[in-house]
Amino acid sequence: MIMWLELMFCFVATVAFGIIFNIPLRLVWWGGLIGMVIWLIYSSLPMYGLSQVYSAAVAAFVAAFTSHWLARFKKVPVTTFTIPGIIPLVPGGRAYSSMLAIVEENYSNGLALGIETLLQAGAIAGGLVFALSIFSIGKGVGQRYETNR
């Protein structure tokens, strides 16, 4: 019951962010669906003992993977789905508490929370990069050794 309420709020939040980023009306609903799916993953994985950062990475990967697939299907730029899709994962709460700790001159606590915030941001980026790598196999740029001569 509570879970359904959360999923509904996540759908509303993602659609609202789609409107903030001026995404066409026919596409915002898909962004909302992606938001719902990744909130389900992000909030249910910690119940199985995984860390918050790890769940964020998995959720970001799923969001980016679904977005690429949908973008190919709908023939639109992929950012119209990824940008609102990863908004629910933004570590706003941690960033705020880290700043609050620094304002209260509790620097070690603030630093620890700040590092957690940075780790979660990195996890989101990692998930995005991983999905992108899968979708650009064979199309990427060369690196290090020129083997095809």
Binding site: I19, I23, T79, I83, Y96, V129
Partner: protein, 252 residues
């Protein structure tokens, strides 16, 4: 105007619109390449950074053309990116002539925003309220978070309109939104202050530069990727500084 000049103006207009409204660097380069190729040019090279576009090609007669334009403003309007993408797709498939495609691009450039401003204000209020519930799980604080998110975007648009300074207006919007949240907490309207202030500030998150920075770094556009990362970082820092300023009023 010859065909080469016409193609140059058309490609640069498409690239400028995409870059200005928040497309990734590789997409801008790729779109201009495809459009120039469909117009029959050879030896096409495009180089795009966050703030400028270079395009060079050779015509069938062996004449070289090269031009660069500077893109000063950057907005977040992904519906225009989608429309330019559609025009370029139709042009590359030969469904549009170059005159028709140029007219469509000009229409996209002149068109107003996809959503009216009041809907964007409302959406940032609703987004802030819904996000604050996800973070804090407290029902009575949804309404203060709605007011906070609404005020943040209203003040951001006002400051950007009259001051026209990017990072400073984000800082001032964070201060104003934070002050509204502090005021609501002092008067007892907001019970869970953390939740309200997160809902207030979440519409300011630099989503477009963050996502595009990762994408650009991955596709090898290192200059644009680092530049976008820096843009996102400075925006986040100005928001953080704004929150700290308004929080210090609470501890005054």
């Amino acid at each position: 105007m010859g065909k080469a000049e016409q193609t140059m103006a058309f490609c640069l207009l498409g690239g400028k619109l995409m870059l200005r409204y928040g497309a990734e660097t590789y997409r801008v380069e790729d779109t201009m390449y495809r459009m120039a190729k469909a117009a029959g040019m050879r030896n096409i090279n495009s180089f795009v950074t966050l703030t400028g576009i270079f395009l060079a090609y050779r015509t069938d007669e062996g004449q070289d053309y090269m031009q660069m334009i500077r893109v000063h403003e950057r907005y977040q309007d992904l519906s225009k990116v989608t429309s330019v993408n559609q025009v370029s797709r139709e042009f590359s498939h030969g469904e549009l002539s170059i005159e028709e495609a140029t007219n469509e691009l000009t229409a996209i450039e002149k068109a107003p925003m996809n959503y009216p401003l009041w809907l964007i204000y409302l959406a940032s209020g609703i987004g802030g309220a819904a996000f604050s519930y996800l973070i804090g799980k407290s029902f009575p604080d949804i309404f203060p978070a709605f007011i906070g998110g609404l005020m943040t975007t209203v003040t951001l648009v006002l400051y950007q309109k009259y001051l026209k300074v990017k990072f400073f207006s984000e800082f001032l919007a964070a201060v104003s939104g934070g002050l509204v949240a502090v005021l609501m907490s002092v008067t007892g309207l907001a019970l869970n202050f953390d939740q309200v202030i997160i809902g207030t500030l979440i519409p300011l998150v630099p989503g477009v530069p963050l996502t595009n920075s990762v994408r650009d770094l991955m596709s090898g556009d290192l200059v644009a990727g680092v530049a976008r990362g820096a843009e996102a970082g400075v925006t986040s820092l100005s928001i953080a500084a704004g929150v700290v300023v308004s929080l210090s009023f609470l501890y005054f």
